[in-house]
């Protein structure tokens, strides 16, 4: 195979994307744990660790740029590499969401959590499962899987709306809880956006496999971009 070097290097970069994805999965689950356990010290540590995520993202981008400059990839190869640039950006932003949740943990301090934490834990688990499958579909270019994952976003959205209703009820019943309830809505928002970004990864997988740019989530509201 005349392009062994290119193929090997693309596979190496895909491995790095999986490692970055694993870092995001861990950070997301742990960030909700810090809230659940009121573990401010762990929250501070996770915020510091976000730098490792940023560093990994830049390392991936650098490896892609070097490969484009030295190997002149085209067609399918080029689509993979440009998609990796896009996906690594998505992952880095997901890392920011986890960092944001940790900041909320710190802001909440010892205050009561006025809504059921289990809904936020469940949201994190669903979103991380979507991410895990989304990255698996991405590196294996599994078109069928990539097309099925965005449907799971409905479950995350449903939980977000449940949390939203809880927050409104709690604030209405006791306006003094506004600050805490409002912060918890941001946690749900971050997790909901993380799941939306998994859909973006799936769109890139379809792009690699077919060359077609396809919007896969019609409910993805531009107004919610952050």
């Amino acid at each position: 195979m005349p392009r062994d070097t290119l193929d090997r290097q693309i596979n190496n970069i895909k491995d790095e994307v999986l490692i970055l994805g694993n870092m995001i999965e861990q950070a997301t689950l742990l960030s909700v744990d810090t809230l659940k356990n009121r573990d401010i010290r762990a929250a501070h540590e996770l915020i510091e660790d976000d730098q490792l995520i940023n560093d990994k993202r830049f390392a991936i981008e650098n490896a892609v740029l070097i490969l484009i400059a030295t190997q002149q990839p085209i067609a399918h190869d080029l689509r993979i590499l440009t998609a990796i640039l896009e996906v690594s950006t998505e992952l880095e932003r997901m890392g920011d969401y986890a960092k944001g949740i940790c900041k909320i943990t710190i802001k909440m301090g010892e205050s009561d959590i006025p809504i059921p934490i289990r809904d936020l834990v469940k949201m994190a688990e669903l979103a991380v499962t979507m991410l895990h499958k989304g990255l698996s579909a991405f590196v294996n270019e599994n078109l069928h899987l990539a097309q099925s994952i965005p449907l799971e976003d409905d479950n995350v959205d449903a939980l977000y709306h449940k949390v939203y209703r809880h927050v409104v009820e709690v604030i209405t019943a006791n306006p003094a809880t506004f600050d805490e309830a409002h912060l918890l809505l941001w946690v749900a928002h971050n997790l909901e956006r993380l799941a939306d970004r998994v859909t973006n990864i799936c769109e890139r997988t379809v792009f690699i496999a077919t060359g077609e740019m396809m919007e896969m989530d019609s409910t993805d509201d531009e107004d919610q971009e952050d």
Binding site: M1, P2, R3, L6, Q72, P73, I74, A75, H76, D77, L78, R79, T210, G211
Partner: protein, 259 residues
């Protein structure tokens, strides 16, 4: 590189080309569009130069060469009995792999072909105009009597392009015109091709895939089938061929995994 393909200036219908009994090219259908740069790419032996040479009947010089099918130039089959192959080559000029100026002055290289074709206008003007069109005038205007062989390889190739332009063709065929040139001279030729495409249709055979991707509007990919005959696998906009080819053989070739 637009979606607008213009009108076909050459229409190839079910073309097969033979060298004696060997079928070198098989069943090609192809439309070459006016004022576009069309690249023909493919592995060695796929018949791309054979097809290119058939467009101005250069294969007539090869003993035993024959064709089946039609090559229509403005709706007229150039292989019809009433067609003069010399006139075909005047309308459809050719530039070769290795620059091949005559061992004469720069001026005479341009003037000779025009004279042979009965040009009766102002020869100085014609020489200046064609050298300008070939982006060579500024480099040679003070030494038109200098021997053409003293020019650099890139300049010689642009002189050959100017020589082809002097007889006012409609189409210029280029058979790997940059394979003997350095990268800078190559880019100059590619820029020149883009300029010339405003007034001429250009068909280029190239082994250099980056060149096809950079310089052409349309790309045809040829390969060999099981009986070693050249076949056209895919033809389309260059932007499509090099980003999302429809055929796996095309993808394998342009990504360097085959050929």
């Amino acid at each position: 590189m637009t979606e607008n393909k213009n009108q076909p200036i050459i229409t190839v219908k079910d073309l097969s080309i033979f060298y004696k009994t060997f079928r070198a090219v098989k069943n090609v259908d192809l439309e070459i569009f006016e004022n576009k740069i069309t690249a023909i790419i493919g592995p060695s032996g796929c018949g791309k130069s054979t097809v290119l040479r058939s467009f101005n009947r250069m294969n007539d010089f090869i003993p035993g060469a024959s064709i089946q099918g039609n090559i229509l130039f403005h709706d007229k089959n150039i292989y019809d009995e009433d067609v003069d192959p010399v006139q075909v080559r005047r309308m459809i000029g050719m530039v070769f792999q290795k620059p091949n100026p005559f061992p004469k002055s720069i001026y005479e290289n341009i003037a000779w072909g025009a004279k042979m074709n009965g040009f009766s206008g102002n020869m100085d003007d014609l020489v200046e105009k064609t050298l300008q069109d070939a982006a060579l005038w500024d480099e040679v205007k003070d030494e038109l009597n200098k021997n053409a062989l003293s020019l650099s390889g890139g300049q010689q190739q642009r002189l050959c392009i100017a020589r082809a332009l002097a007889v006012k063709p409609e189409i210029i065929l280029m058979d790997e015109p940059c394979s003997a040139l350095d990268p800078i001279a190559t880019l100059k030729i590619e820029d020149l091709m883009r300029e010339l495409s405003h007034n001429y249709s250009i068909i280029i055979v190239t082994h250099n895939m980056q060149q096809a991707a950079r310089a052409s509007d349309m790309t045809a990919f040829f390969t060999m089938d099981e009986d070693r005959a050249g076949v056209m696998v895919e033809y389309g906009l260059t932007t499509q061929i090099f980003t999302n080819p429809k055929n796996k053989q095309t993808e394998d070739y342009i990504t360097g995994r085959f050929g």
